[in-house]
């Protein structure tokens, strides 16, 4: 009877349910804040995040939410304070580092932003905001190799994510890896035949490959 022991364990594991319920009120307030922030209701979002913070002062989530709201308004100092507070509360909070990176990026400090995006991805390889931020800063800095690795790791886990696939193809094209870029773009067009950006970039890649081949022949 293989399940019997599990029954006993389950019956004695009431604490698991307790853990689930403990954060419910906090989650409601945090998610309310996130929804209001998405709709641009920043005052309401702030209010919800503040309430959530009172309910769970040890959680980083409300600080991250407040940071995002401040960032939307261009209040970089306030945003940085909020993200820093979040990182202090929960050093493993990827969003806090992503937020700090965005602040640095807004300030034009691309190298610092790049490092913070990397720190974010080290904690959460699936963080799409950080991946795209990393892509942007690497384009601005002209440093692609490390970013490509993160994008590939992400795509191993989310093979159908065409936005990241497009970033990868862009970086590969800029890095001179034309065959890889072409394959990535062709994959996007299989998944999204109407993707105009991918089609444009693929045309560009093919043209450059053609030129390269012609130059090779000439030389």
């Amino acid at each position: 009877m293989p399940h019997c022991e599990r029954i006993t364990v389950q019956l004695n594991a009431e604490h698991v349910v307790v853990e689930e319920g403990l954060e419910q009120h906090y989650e409601v307030l945090k998610e309310l804040g996130d929804c209001h922030a998405s709709l641009g209701n920043t005052d309401r979002a702030r209010h919800c995040y503040e309430e959530a913070r009172v309910l769970a002062p040890e959680k980083a989530g409300p600080c991250v939410g407040l940071g995002v709201v401040e960032l939307q308004f261009g209040n970089l100092d306030a945003a940085e304070r909020a993200f820093r507070a979040a990182a202090d509360l929960e050093p493993a909070c990827a969003e806090a580092y992503g937020g700090l990176a965005m602040v640095r990026q807004h300030r034009g400090k691309h190298a610092e932003a790049f490092d913070l995006y990397m720190a974010c991805l080290d904690k959460d390889a699936d963080n799409l905001v950080a991946l795209l931020g990393l892509f942007q800063t690497s384009c601005q800095m002209g440093s692609f190799a490390r970013v490509i690795r993160y994008l590939e790791v992400y795509l191993d886990r989310h093979p159908g994510d065409t936005s990241v696939l497009f970033c990868l193809a862009t970086l590969q094209a800029r890095d001179g890896a034309m065959d890889e870029a072409r394959q990535a773009l062709e994959m996007i067009l299989v998944l999204e035949p109407e993707n105009a950006e991918a089609a444009d970039l693929l045309r560009d890649v093919r043209r450059r490959q053609h030129h390269l081949a012609a130059e090779t022949v000439r030389s």
Binding site: L11, V28, E31, L32, C35, S38
Partner: protein
């Protein structure tokens, strides 16, 4: 006691034991006097704690009576004292830190009045995880539905799947169960609920009709304190599991377990294993030579020593034990029987649904002789015709088939199916889990609960359309959990306005006291 504008219907007696919880008692009583079903009498029993007369008197409600004891004698004694005075057809319970929603009594009375064959009904409650603030008030951190699940007699004998504060039962059943056991420090509610199950079926009303509170800090709940003392907890559990109210038991199978060890050396361990692993009501009969029984000096509840002659065969010992046993069913336990969870309950469950011509085997691949459960009458017939033949032969000659119970005959089938579905969840097979929950509801009941599980599984499987349809349906009678789930589905689809609506509902539900979400 009477009350102006009282509802026509049977009188309900509500028992409210209290001990040093003045602040919450006031709220509890307020929820009681706000009941839509008004034909009740209530006894507030102060178990030697701080004075509460002012609180009771402040309601100026003639339905509320105070039993003011100086001495602290425990909750069981409090309930018994009030039960003696109770006049209601039905009895309900309200702890001094819990709350009824307004229709609690009404739903239970309606349910019991609609089915006279059942003497007990119960609802679901919110378990409110809360933080106690410096002023003594309670801040809700979460409200999780404590699903009491549909009635399962076998499961109830193993674990109390009801909440006493959500329970209502016929008062006359107490004449048969006996009063609350005042020797128990903890689990007095399970002890009473289990004894009620000997005499009646229970009806589950899958609605949230109240709430009980669980502070996040060191809990002051007596039951949790008691569990901290593991030895005492085990001793209490054993005492409850061996309780045998006076017969007849119209709803509970009684089992005679006949232990047939090879000698006195093995007898102690076998008897100990039986007590450790059995949770359905039973007697243990040990047929052995008198000298061996005297030497063993086993003093356990429901233990029946059966003196036999030296050198008696196993079949002769079994026949001697059968004469002393009270059970409707007999478990024959030779050496080599395997003791484990459900070791005898699966076979007993199968036997209670069998035709009396099948002996259901107990686990024990190395058993020296057949180990099985059979109705007592059938086994007596087998033994009468045995003529000294071995048991396996005697069973066959009597036309009794010996086989293991099949999966559809096991006890706790709902729990087994639920665990399979949970395993699918753990493996990330959400779509299959969603199917499993629908199948479980079809086969084993607990429909509302399983629909909630199914909605979550569909959401995790990315089946947002069906998940949303199910959530919307569930949220015609919303809970905090289902509101949050629906909000998440909306949010994922960027329908932030609808997500906000559901989250605001959840928030109101979390901050409301004494009323359900809807």
């Amino acid at each position: 006691m009477s009350h102006a504008g009282e509802t026509r219907g049977p009188l309900v007696t509500v028992l409210v034991p209290t001990f040093n919880r003045r602040a919450t008692l006031r709220e509890a009583l307020a929820s009681l006097v706000a009941q839509t079903y008004t034909h009740f009498e209530a006894f507030v029993i102060n178990d030697g704690g701080e004075p509460v007369r002012d609180i009771v008197d402040a309601f100026a409600d003639p339905r509320l009576a105070l039993i003011d004891r100086r001495e602290n004698r425990g909750k069981a004694a409090s309930l018994n004292e009030a039960l003696v005075r109770a006049r209601g057809t039905y009895v309900a319970y309200l702890d001094d830190d819990d709350l009824f929603y307004p229709r609690h009594l009404q739903r239970l009375v309606e349910t019991l009045e609609a089915d006279a064959s059942c003497g007990v009904a119960y609802t679901d409650l919110y378990k409110v995880h809360c933080r106690v603030l410096p002023d003594g008030s309670r801040q809700a951190l979460g409200k999780v539905v404590n699903v009491c699940r549909d009635f399962d007699r076998f499961f109830l004998c193993y674990f109390n799947h009801t909440l006493h504060v959500s329970l209502m039962h016929r008062r006359d059943l107490v004449d048969r169960t006996g009063p609350y056991d005042e020797s128990l420090g903890i689990l007095i509610d399970w002890d009473m609920t289990r004894r009620l199950a000997f005499f009646t079926d229970f009806l589950h009303v899958p609605e949230v009709t109240g709430e009980f509170y669980a502070p996040v800090a060191d809990s002051d709940r007596i039951s949790e304190k008691g569990r901290a003392d593991r030895q005492a907890f085990i001793a209490t559990t054993l005492k409850i599991r061996t309780a045998r109210p006076p017969k007849p038991w119209p709803r509970m199978p009684d089992l005679s377990i006949v232990a047939l060890p090879d000698g006195p050396e093995a007898a102690g361990a076998m008897v100990r294993d039986i007590y450790a692993w059995t949770f359905m009501p039973y007697q243990v009969l040990l047929p052995m030579p008198e000298a061996a029984l005297v030497r063993l000096r086993i003093r356990m509840p429901n233990f029946v020593p059966v003196a036999t002659a030296d050198g008696a065969t196993r079949e002769t010992r079994l026949a001697a034990a059968l004469e002393r046993g009270e059970g409707d069913y007999v478990a024959v336990v030779p050496p080599g029987t395997t003791f484990q969870m459900l070791w005898v309950e699966d076979a007993l469950h199968a036997a209670t649904r069998g035709d009396g011509r099948t002996a259901f085997a107990l686990p024990g691949p190395k058993a020296v002789a057949p180990a099985f459960v059979l109705p007592t009458g059938a086994l007596a017939r087998v033994l009468r015709g045995a003529g000294g033949r071995p048991m396996a032969q005697a069973l066959a000659d009597a036309g009794v088939t010996l086989r293991a119970p099949g999966p559809t005959e096991y006890a706790l089938q709902f729990d087994r199916a639920l665990q399979e579905a949970e395993r699918l969840e753990e493996d990330g097979a959400w779509e299959r889990a969603a199917h499993a929950y629908r199948d479980i509801a079809d086969r084993f009941g607990n429909a509302h609960w399983m629909r909630q599980r199914r909605a979550r599984a569909l959401h995790e499987a990315g089946r947002e359309g069906p998940a949303l349809d199910l959530c919307r349906d569930l949220n015609r009678r919303p809970t905090v959990g289902t509101l949050i789930l629906e909000a998440r589905i909306h949010r994922q689809a960027d329908r932030f306005g609808e997500a906000i609506d559901r989250l605001e509902e959840a928030r109101r539900c979390l901050t409301a006291k004494g009323s359900p979400c809807n």
